[in-house]
Each structure stands twice: as C-alpha cells, then as structure tokens.
Amino acid sequence: MNPVNYLYLAALLFTIGAAGVLIRRNTIVLFMCVELMLNACNLAFVAFSRMHGNLDGQIIAFFTMVVAAAEVVVGLAIIVSLFRTRHSASVDDASLMKL
C-alpha cells in the first residue's frame, strides 16, 4: 500500500469536516466538525513526517493539538455564554452581522 493513501484519507476527512461546518447549524456539532478538520490535518502531518523521515511534522501536529485544546476551551465557553443569552445553540440565530 502506498502511504500516500493516508493523505487521501486526510483530505477526505477534511472535506467531510468542512462540509459539516457548512451544513450543520448546531454550534456544538459545528465545532466538532472543526475538530475533525484539525485532526485530518494532523493525520496529514504525521504521514508527511513519516515520508520525510523527520519529526517536524509530528511536532506541528502536537502544537496543533495544543492549540485545538485551547480553542475548544474558549469556543465551548463562547457556546455556553451564547446559549445562556439566546437559549439556542443554532449559529443561524447569531446573525446580527447582516446589514
């Protein structure tokens, strides 16, 4: 098997995640999709690391995880406070940006 397949898998997962972001309205699910995308990237990095024979890709994946953790913390906090004020977890309800 060609390890490039990992990359294809990563691309597929990334696309699925992105599509999820576009389709779902629930902020929590939406967030999960973002996580999925990040994980897909990590997979790609790990695969690259193996291809190139150095650990830099893994380091990047590691950092990505840390940042994702931070992001999840803040993001979920935002969701909670959003839900408190709006009694809804739908992103479409937060549409005050329109003109």
Binding site: L22, V91, S95, M97, L99
Partner: protein, 646 residues
Amino acid sequence: MENLIALLVAAPLLGAAVLLCGGRRLDRAGHWLGTLLAAASFGIGAALFADMLGRGADDRTMRQHLYSWIPVEGFQADIAFQLDQLSMTFVLLISGVGTLIHVYSIGYMEHDERRRRFFGYLNLFLAAMLLLVLADNYLLLYVGWEGVGLASYLLIGFWQHKPSAATAAKKAFLVNRVGDMGLSIAIMLMFTTFGTFAFRPVLASAGETSEGMLTAIGLMLLLAACGKSAQVPLQSWLGDAMEGPTPVSALIHAATMVTAGVYLIVRSGAIFNGAPDAQLVTAIVGAVTLLFGAVVGCAKDDIKKALAGSTMSQIGYMVLAAGLGPIGYVFAIMHLVTHGFFKAGLFLGAGSVMHGMNDEVDMRKYGGLRRYMPVTFVTFGLGYLAIIGFPGLSGFFSKDRIIEAAFAKGGTEGWILGSVALLGAAITAFYMTRVMLMTFFGEKRWQPAPDADAAADVEPSAGHRPGEMPHPHESPKSMTVPMIVLAFGSVFAGGFFAIGDRFLNWLEPVTGYEHGHPPVSALTVTLATMAVLAVGVAIAWAMYGRRPVPVTAPRGSLLTRAARRDLLQDDFNHVVLVRGGEHLTRSLVYVDHSLVDGVVNGTAASVGGLSGRLRKLQNGYARSYAVSMFGGTAILIAATLLMRAV
C-alpha cells in the same frame, strides 16, 4: 466737419440714456428734451449736408474713425463712420421725419403716464437708425440693425399690459432675428472671403471673388433685408406691429426702419452687381411682396393695418427697384424718401383720426370725417394722392421711374416685373381710395366706445370714457403741424428730386447708374400707369363711394378672407413653426428628462440595484460566509493547480 458725424448718433443716444435712467424727475420735461435732441441731430445733419453740397461730387464722402472696437488677431472691427450721399439722404430723412414725429408725439402721447419712456425709446431708435446708416462697416451696421430692432421691440410693445402688443413685439423681434441670421452669415462670408467687412475694401474688391460667393453673400443680405423690410417670406410681423402707438408706426414701420433693408441692398450694390442670380431673386421678392402687401391692404378694415399692407407693398417696389441693379438703385432710394414723406403723413393722419375717434381703428366705424377734421383730411388727402401716383405729386415721379426701370430690365423678366409693378399701381389706387372713402366720405357710421371689458385692448392715450359716442375734433397744433410739413413733402419732394435729375446726380457717385432701355417708351409707361390708376380708383369708387359701407364686414370672397388673415401666412407659421416648435421643445424636454438624464439615473439605479442584490449575500449567517470562504479556497487551489499545470 467730419468730427460732427459722431454727434449725429450721440445726441439721441444721450437723450435715450438720460430719459431711460433719469427716473420720474424727468417726467415733466422729458419729451421736450427728447424732441430737442432729435432736432439737434437734424440740425447737425443739415450742417453736414450744407458742407457736403459745398464739395465736389467725388469728394463728398466724409469719414470719422473713433476707435478700434474689437481688436483681435486678423479681425478688425472699428467704430468708424462714413457719411456719403446715400447716408446723407438717410440722415436727413431719419432725423427730419424723426423730429417731426417727436413733435407729433408730444400731443399724441399727452395722456400717457409713461410718455418720458416713450421719448426715450424714440431717441434710442433714432440713435440706432443713424448708426445703421452711418456705419462704415457691416458689423457696426449690424449693431444699428439690431438696435433698431430693439427699439422697434420696445415701441411695439409699449403698451405691454396688452397681451397682443407684447406678442406682436416679440414676433417682430423674432422674425427680424431670422433676418439677422442672414446678415451675420453674410458678414462671416465676407470675413472669410475678404478678411474684412468694412464697406470700402469689401465693395472695392467684390469683383475679385467668384460669382457663387457673391450670390451667397447677396442672398444672405437679402434674407436680412426681408426680415427688416417685411418682405415675403418674413413679412408677417409688420401687420401685428401696428399694435404700437401710431407715431411709432409712422416713424419706424413706415418711414425709416423698414426701409433699412433697401438701404442694405443699395449699399451692397457692388456685391449684387456681381451676382445676377441674387439680383433676380431680390427683384422677385420685391414683386411678390408688392402684390402681397397690396392684396392684404385691400382687405383690412383696420386703418393702420391697411396702411401697413400698403407699406409692405411700397417697400416691395423699392426692393424690386434695388433688385434691378444700377438702373434701379437711385429710384429705389428716391421712392424710399418720397414714401417716407407720404406714408409718415398718412400714418400721422390715421393717428389723428384715431385720436379724434376714441382710438377706434375700424374704418367701417368711421365715415364723413372730412367736415370734422379738415386739416387731417387735407393732409391725408395729399398723402393719398401722392401714394397712388397722382401726376405731379411725389409718388408719381418715383413710382413711375421704378415701373419704367422694371420694364427696362429687359427680356421676359422685364415684362413680368413691369406688369407686376403696373398691376401693383392699380391695386394701390384701389385700396388707398377705399381707405380714403371709408374714412372721410360717406355717412357717419360711428359707434360708441367699447365697454370697459374691451377697453384694455384699446390704446389708452386719450382719456375717453367707455360707452361714449366719439366727438371727432381736429387734433392739437403739435400734431397737425408735422402733418402739414409732411404733406408739403408729399406734394413737392418728388418733383423737386425728379426734375433735372437732381436726385440722380446726387446719388450717382455712390450707387452708380446706368440708363436702361425699356422696350416701350417712357411716355407709354406713364400713360399706362395713369390708366391703371384710373381703373383702380374707379373700382374703389364703385364699391365704396357709390353705395353705403356696411358697419360689419361682409363675409367676402375667399381671397378677401385670406387677405384679412394676411394671406394665411400667420396660420402657416402657427401650424408649422409655433406648433411644430412646441412639439419639438416638449419632446426634447421629455428626451432630456427621460433619455439623457434617464441613462445616468438608470446607471445609478442599476448600480444601486446590483448593490442591493450583493447586499443580500451579506445575510449575517456565518455559514453563508463560510461557504464563500470555502469556495474561494477551492478556486485558489484550482488556480494554483492550473498555474502549475501551465
């Protein structure tokens, strides 16, 4: 002496300025000041005339150069005067008749609260008219030309509160403007051809250019002359111009301004001499107008409009004569001068009659006035005899010569033009006799003055009350004296000029003269004229002298009805020019609003609409934005791949 020329113009100009800007303080003395300055102009003119007579025939042209008016590269227009025999003739006529009419107006306008302004306008007219005949180049002539147009506008519309007067004034100015277009194009042609438009160089080198160019210039000058001198097809304003006070009709629309066209043609003789086609057109225009005016004159019941038709017709004679070339120029001017006398006299007489008849102008409501207004009757009668060409009086000499010259033109056109002139003489005799009979003979057909509703349409010069029967009376001295003086002119001027060819010798150095050879002898022409004259008078007598004149006009034949409406020219103008113009402007207003502005507003609206659409993309949904972001990323990747592939 040359330096006095400017004073000829300056005196009445000063009068106009003082009277128009002076305010009410001058109300009491204004008319005397105006008259005095007009007389001063005449006095200066007479002095210059005396000086001119003292010189040799070739040395009579005086010039005065004041300053360079428009100094622009390649373009020299000067304020400069040229006084030769032709100008001198006009100066004396204008300032002489002008002064008489100033005097007459003192009495005629006595009751008008705006008399000061009237005199101001009259002075303005004199200044402009003198400038016209004294200018030494066409551009300065143009200034005078428009100046008299302005004065005419102001004087026709003097009683501005009457809508008819205001409309008539506007019409006169506009029709004249069409003619002015001709004059300005003629000047432009001269400028491109000769590089100048001063009389001397242009006329001296007229022969050096092509006949086509001369014809073009000549036709344009003729257009100008048609406008000013009320020749067909630009004649329609003259009848309406009778809305003005009667002295104005006498001075401007009979004796002087309307003859400016003849002056222009005669002055530009050198150009016309080189352009036979233009000459022929001029003669034809004159002949057509001659008949046109005469026919209109036959049908009008309004005494002033009948006289206006006659004026048109008589100027037609002059233009015809001018169109004949050197054989006719002198006689055109001679007829112009005699006409100035008798037509002014006739108008003043008409004014006097109106003055005595509660400003009634309808001849059908006159009748039997000879006993009540003897002086008016006599002077008007002498003018009448002069205009129809009664042997021995002015008109006889001048008109006879024109008819002779028309025949002398030679060929078929000579015969046609001569016959038309002869026919015109018969019609003249007819309509003038009609005027005479309806006004002074027959029984009284007087009507009470119109009631207050209609009073607005009547000249308010005399303080009469509505519903009152007229009490015809002789006019005051200030009015009768000018009439008497003019009557003298009507009687003797022609003979004085013609006997011994005085006038011919006087003008010949300027206009040139060549003796024509009429196919028939001069005596035959004279006799024929006498014969048609008698016929005309006889028919008029049969129609208006033998039987009573009905107070209301009979329906009349088709021709009569058409002639009453100025041979339908106004109707034509109305339908074609006024209506057409209205439609044109209205549709253009629409076009401007919807099309020109619409394109711009449409662009603005479509930009706005597009923005509105684009704004809808901005729906506030984060997911929508995410889609565009995502799509954008996809496009970027595609672009990168494509670039790599390429």
